[in-house]
C-alpha cells in the first residue's frame, strides 16, 4: 500500500512521466562494477525511480520519503562504477539527470551548476565561452567524463579529489553548495555570508558547512547546486614523464621535486595504469604496458612560456640526477589527457578511464611528506602479500595487476597514497583475490591515517578509526533521524 501511495505522491510532484516502478526502468539502477565483480554490495533494484527537475522537486521528494520512511538513494550521470548509487535497501532512487542548469557569474568569477550537469558538458561550456566570447577562465574539477558534477557519484563519493593541478583538489575550488537535507529543508553553505545572494564565500560566518557532504556518500543530504571558483588559463603548459624500476627511488625523486616546489600535480604510479588509460584498444594497452618500465613519475608545469621553460629544465635535471629516465616526446603524446587537465580543458583524471578492465583504488591514506618512506615500506610488505595471491604475466590485462601510487595536487606537502588494483571484474577468482588483498592491505591506511573515502567502501575500516566514525554517526542521526538518506552506503552498520 505504502509504495503505491508514495508513487502517486511523487507523480504529483514531478509529473507522471518522470516516475517509474517498471522493472525495465528499475533494473538498470540495481548494479554496477562493484556489485557484479567484487560483490561488495548486493544487486538490488529500487522500488521507484524519480527524476526531479528542480530543487523544490527534490525538497518535496525528501518530505515524502521522510513521511513514509522510505529510503532514498541517488544517481547523477549514471556512470557510477563503485556502488555509491546502488539502492542497497530498495526504496526510491532519485535520478538527477534532469537538473542541467549552468549559471555563470562573470563579476565574481564563479559558475554554479545543477546536479545533473555532466563533466563533459561543463568542459564544453567553457570551451564554448572561450571560443565565442574569449573568456580565458576555467573551473577546476574532474571526474568520469559522463559523470555528473555534484551528487552521489562525485561530491559525495569524493571523486573530485582528482582535480585542478594548480589550484588544489576539487573540493578546495568549491565556494558553496546548495543542499537539500533529509527533512526537505534546503540551505546554501555560503548563506551565512550571503547577504546579496552571491555564492562566493565558502566559510560563511562559521561553522563551515561546505565540506559537510564530501565523502559522506550522500548520507547527509542531496547536493542540488554547486558553485565553483574560476581561474585563469595558463599561457602554456607541459607534461614531464619519467620512468623508474623502483618505487622507492621514484618517491624519493618526487619528494625532492616537492621540496623545490617545482611542477603541479606530481604523482608516482605503476606504469601499466597509464598504459591502460592511454591505449585506444586492449591490444595497444598490452603493448604499451609491456614496453613500460615498472613505475612512472608524472608532473605538469604551467605558467608563462619563460617560467615553463625554466621549470622544465630544472625538473628534468632533478629527475635525471635521481635515477629517472625522461620519457621521449612521442610517448608523451599518448598522455595528452594529462596536459589537457593542466590547461583545464580535459577535466578528467585519465584519458580513457576504466575502459579495459575493472579497476579499484583502495586503502587511501593522506600522508605528510615525511611519512612517505614508511608508506613505501608498508606497500612493499603489502605488495608481497598481494603477490602471494596474484600472478600477472600481462599487467592489467586478463589478470590482476596492482601497485601503490602517490598523488600530490598542490605546492608541497601532503600526498594522497593508495593502492590500485586492476582485474577482470567478470572473473570471480580475480574478484576474490582483490577482496582478500584489500583486507590484507588494511594495515596501511590504519597506520598512515585513513582517508574518509574508504569509510564506506571497506567494511573493516570503521573499526580502525576510533571515535571519528562514531561522531560522524551522531551527526547523521541528528540530520537524518529516520535514516532515509542513502542508508547502508557510508554508514554500513
Amino acid at each position: 500500500m505504502g509504495l503505491k501511495e508514495v508513487k502517486k505522491k511523487l507523480q504529483d510532484i514531478v509529473g507522471k512521466e518522470w516516475v517509474s516502478d517498471e522493472p525495465v526502468d528499475t533494473i538498470p539502477y540495481s548494479r554496477d562494477l562493484i556489485t557484479d565483480g567484487l560483490k561488495a554490495y548486493p544487486e538490488r533494484r529500487p522500488d521507484i525511480v524519480v527524476m526531479p527537475g528542480s530543487t523544490p522537486d527534490v525538497q518535496n521528494i525528501m518530505r515524502i520519503a521522510n513521511q513514509y520512511q522510505v529510503p532514498v538513494h541517488l544517481i547523477g550521470g549514471g556512470v557510477t562504477l563503485l556502488g555509491g548509487s546502488i539502492p542497497v535497501t530498495g526504496g526510491i532512487t532519485v535520478d538527477l539527470k534532469r537538473m542541467k542548469g549552468i549559471q555563470l557569474d562573470r563579476e565574481n568569477l564563479t559558475v554554479t551548476v545543477e546536479s545533473g550537469v555532466f563533466v563533459t558538458t561543463l568542459t564544453g561550456y567553457f570551451k564554448h565561452l572561450t571560443e565565442k566570447e574569449k573568456i580565458p577562465w576555467r573551473p577546476y574539477f574532474t571526474g568520469a567524463p559522463g559523470g555528473s558534477l555534484n551528487n552521489a557519484t562525485n561530491i559525495f563519493q569524493g571523486i573530485n579529489k582528482f582535480a585542478g593541478l594548480k589550484y588544489g583538489v576539487g573540493i578546495q575550488n568549491i565556494v558553496s553548495l546548495e543542499i537539500v537535507l533529509p527533512d526537505g529543508s534546503v540551505f546554501n553553505t555560503s548563506g551565512g555570508a550571503n547577504l546579496f545572494g552571491v555564492n562566493h564565500w565558502m566559510q560563511g560566518p562559521g561553522p563551515t558547512l561546505t565540506y559537510l557532504p564530501f565523502f559522506a556518500l550522500g548520507s547527509f543530504g542531496i547536493c542540488t547546486k554547486i558553485t565553483w571558483s574560476l581561474y585563469p588559463m595558463p599561457e602554456t603548459c607541459q607534461s614531464i614523464w619519467a620512468y623508474y624500476e623502483d618505487f622507492e627511488i621514484a618517491t624519493k625523486c618526487l619528494i625532492k621535486l616537492l621540496h623545490r616546489e617545482i611542477g603541479r600535480g606530481l604523482f608516482v604510479m605503476p606504469s601499466w595504469t597509464q598504459a591502460a588509460y592511454s591505449a585506444e584498444t586492449r591490444e595497444e594497452g598490452i603493448r604499451l604496458a609491456k614496453a613500460c618500465p615498472k613505475y612512472m613519475l608524472g608532473m605538469g608545469v604551467e605558467g608563462t612560456r619563460r617560467a615553463v621553460a625554466y621549470q622544465s629544465e630544472l625538473a628534468n635535471r632533478i629527475i635525471r640526477e635521481n635515477g629517472g629516465r625522461i620519457a621521449p616526446p612521442e610517448l608523451i603524446e599518448v598522455y595528452r589527457g594529462h596536459e589537457q587537465n593542466i590547461k583545464g580543458w580535459g577535466q578528467s583524471n585519465s584519458p580513457r578511464l576504466m575502459r579495459h578492465m575493472g579497476m579499484i583504488m583502495t586503502n587511501m591514506a593522506y600522508l605528510s611528506v615525511d611519512q612517505v618512506p614508511e608508506y613505501v615500506r608498508l606497500c612493499a610488505e603489502g605488495t608481497h602479500k598481494v603477490d602471494a595471491y596474484m600472478n600477472y604475466p600481462e599487467p592489467g590485462f586478463g589478470a590482476v595487476a596492482s601497485g601503490p601510487q602517490l598523488y600530490t595536487y598542490q605546492w608541497g606537502h601532503f600526498v594522497i597514497a593508495e593502492f590500485i588494483f586492476a582485474y577482470d571484474h567478470t572473473n570471480p577468482e580475480h574478484c576474490n583475490a582483490v577482496w582478500q588483498c584489500m583486507h590484507n592491505m588494511g594495515a596501511v591506511p590504519w597506520k598512515m591515517g585513513t582517508g574518509p573515502w574508504t569509510l564506506g567502501r571497506d567494511p573493516f575500516v570503521p573499526n580502525l578509526t576510533g571515535n571519528f566514525y562514531e561522531t560522524a554517526k551522531k551527526l547523521k542521526n541528528t540530520l537524518d533521524p529516520n535514516n532515509v538518506m542513502n542508508p547502508g552506503i557510508a554508514f554500513t552498520d
Binding site: E22, I27, I75, F118, T120, L353
Partner: protein, 413 residues
C-alpha cells in the same frame, strides 16, 4: 542469419560496468557542450533504461527470465535509433555490442508477437504487399527517371548490360521532397561516362527497415533474393545513394553468403570521379556549409572522407565541421524505425543536431542519407529555421552545372 553472441559477449553484457563510454565522447577526442549527450534515446528520455547499459542489463534480465514483455519494455527497446555510437566505443575495448543487443531484443519481441510498435507494423505489411516499406506501387519506383534527357539502361531482364547497377533504394524514389536527388545523381553519372543501369520496377527493398525492427527472417528473404538477382545478372558493382541500403548490402549480405559484387555509396563513386577529372565542379557556391555524417554511412559503413572530398572540391564553398563529427557524429534521430514509430523523439533529436549545425555558422546543412534528409527537412519546415537543407549530391550538381542546370534537372518531370 542470427545474433549468435558468444558467451564472452553475454558475460560482458552481464558485467557492463556502466563506465559511460557508450554515452560520452571523451574530452580528449572532442570537447563540447553536447559530448556527454551522445546517446539519442538516453538524452531524450533520461531514464537509465534508455541508455545502452540499461538495455544491456534489460537483455540479461530478459535472458534470465527476470523481465517480461510490457509496453514500457517495447518503448525502451524501440526508442533506439541504432546509431551505433555505443557499439563503436564499447566493442573496441569491452567486447560488448550494445547495438546488436538491441537488435537481438527486437528480434525476440517480434518472435514473441509483441513487437514492433503499432505504427511500425505498417512497414512490414507494406513490404509484404509492395516490396517497399512505404506502401507505394512498384511501378512508381522508376517515376524519377521521367524527363531525363538520356535513357538509363534497364538491367532487370539481363538483356542490357552495364558496369554499375544504380540501386536507389525505397526512400529516395517515393518521397517527392528528396526524389530529385536521384535525377542529379544519374545526370552526374551519365555525364561522367559511367556505364550504369537500374533494375526498374523489379527492384526490391534491401531489407534494412525490416532488420532494424527485428524481422530478421524478412531481411534474410530480401537478402537471398537480391543476392541471387545480382549474381544472375552478373552485377559486379552496386552504387546506392542510400546509406541504409549500403550498410545492409555491404555488412549484412556478406554474412548471408558469398557475394561476388562490391557495394559503394554514391559519394564514394562521385569523389573518385572528381579525383579522376571526370567531374569538374566549376560553379562557385559561395555559402557556408556543414556536413552531417549519417550513422549508416559513417559509423556503420566507415565512409567519412568521400563526402568531405566532394565538399572541398566545390569552389567558393566554406566548409565548417560540426563539433561532433565522423565516428563521434550525433544521430539525426531518423534511424532504427524511430521516425516511423516515435516521430516526436525523432524530431527532438533532429532539433539537437540542427542546433549543433547552426552553431557552426552554416547557412546550409548537407548530408547523403534519405532518412536523415527527411528528418531534417521535416524539422526545418516545422521550425522555420534559417538553416537550409540541401543534399550533397544536389550541391555537387549545382557546382558542376550551375544553379540553372540543376533547376532544369529538378523539374525534369
Amino acid at each position: 542469419m542470427k545474433f549468435e553472441f558468444d558467451e564472452e559477449m553475454w558475460r560482458k553484457a552481464l558485467f557492463c560496468a556502466r563506465c559511460g563510454s557508450c554515452r560520452t565522447v571523451h574530452a580528449e577526442q572532442i570537447e563540447g557542450l553536447e559530448t556527454g549527450l551522445q546517446c539519442p534515446s538516453g538524452t531524450n528520455y533520461l531514464f537509465e533504461s534508455y541508455y545502452p547499459s540499461g538495455r544491456s542489463y534489460a537483455a540479461v534480465a530478459f535472458k534470465r527470465g527476470e523481465l517480461d514483455w510490457s509496453d514500457r519494455v517495447l518503448d525502451v527497446i524501440y526508442s533506439c535509433t541504432t546509431c551505433g555510437f555505443c557499439q563503436y566505443t564499447c566493442e573496441r575495448t569491452n567486447v560488448n555490442k550494445p547495438t546488436d543487443i538491441i537488435r537481438w531484443l527486437r528480434s525476440e519481441a517480434v518472435r514473441a508477437g509483441v513487437g514492433p510498435l503499432p505504427a511500425q507494423r505498417t512497414i512490414i505489411k507494406n513490404l509484404e504487399a509492395y516490396d517497399n516499406p512505404w506502401g507505394q506501387p512498384r511501378a512508381k519506383r522508376t517515376s524519377w527517371t521521367k524527363g531525363l534527357n538520356f535513357k538509363i539502361k534497364d538491367l532487370s531482364q539481363g538483356k542490357e548490360k552495364a558496369e554499375v547497377l544504380l540501386y536507389p533504394g525505397c526512400t529516395y524514389p517515393y518521397d517527392p521532397k528528396i526524389q530529385p536527388v536521384l535525377r542529379y545523381l544519374a545526370a552526374l553519372m551519365f555525364d561522367a561516362g559511367v556505364d550504369f543501369g537500374i533494375l526498374g520496377s523489379t527492384e526490391r527493398c534491401c531489407g534494412s527497415t525490416a532488420f532494424n525492427l527485428g524481422y530478421i527472417e524478412v531481411l534474410e528473404k530480401y537478402g537471398r533474393e537480391n543476392i541471387e538477382t545480382f549474381h544472375q545478372l552478373g552485377i559486379e558493382t552496386i552504387v546506392t545513394p542510400c546509406s541504409g541500403c549500403l550498410n545492409t548490402m555491404k555488412n549484412l549480405y556478406s554474412q548471408m553468403g558469398r557475394c561476388t559484387f562490391q557495394v559503394k555509396h554514391s559519394v564514394e563513386m562521385l569523389a573518385d570521379l572528381i579525383r579522376e577529372g571526370k567531374l569538374k565542379p566549376r560553379y562557385a557556391i559561395k555559402k557556408t556549409v556543414t556536413y552531417h555524417d549519417p550513422c549508416h554511412l559513417g559509423r556503420h559503413g566507415k565512409i567519412f572522407d568521400a563526402p568531405r572530398t566532394i565538399l572541398k572540391a566545390i569552389p567558393g564553398l566554406r566548409f565548417r565541421e560540426m563539433n561532433r563529427m565522423r565516428e563521434y557524429s550525433f544521430c539525426c534521430g531518423g534511424g532504427g524505425g524511430v521516425r516511423t514509430g516515435k516521430i516526436d523523439f525523432a524530431q527532438a533529436t533532429a532539433e539537437r543536431r540542427i542546433e549543433e549545425a547552426l552553431d557552426t555558422g552554416a547557412e546550409i546543412l548537407t548530408t547523403v542519407c534519405p532518412f536523415c534528409s527527411q528528418n531534417f527537412l521535416d524539422y526545418l519546415e516545422r521550425s522555420g529555421s534559417r538553416l537550409k537543407f540541401i543534399d550533397l549530391i544536389e550541391l555537387l550538381h549545382q557546382s558542376v552545372y550551375g544553379e540553372e542546370g540543376t533547376k532544369k534537372v529538378e523539374g525534369a518531370k
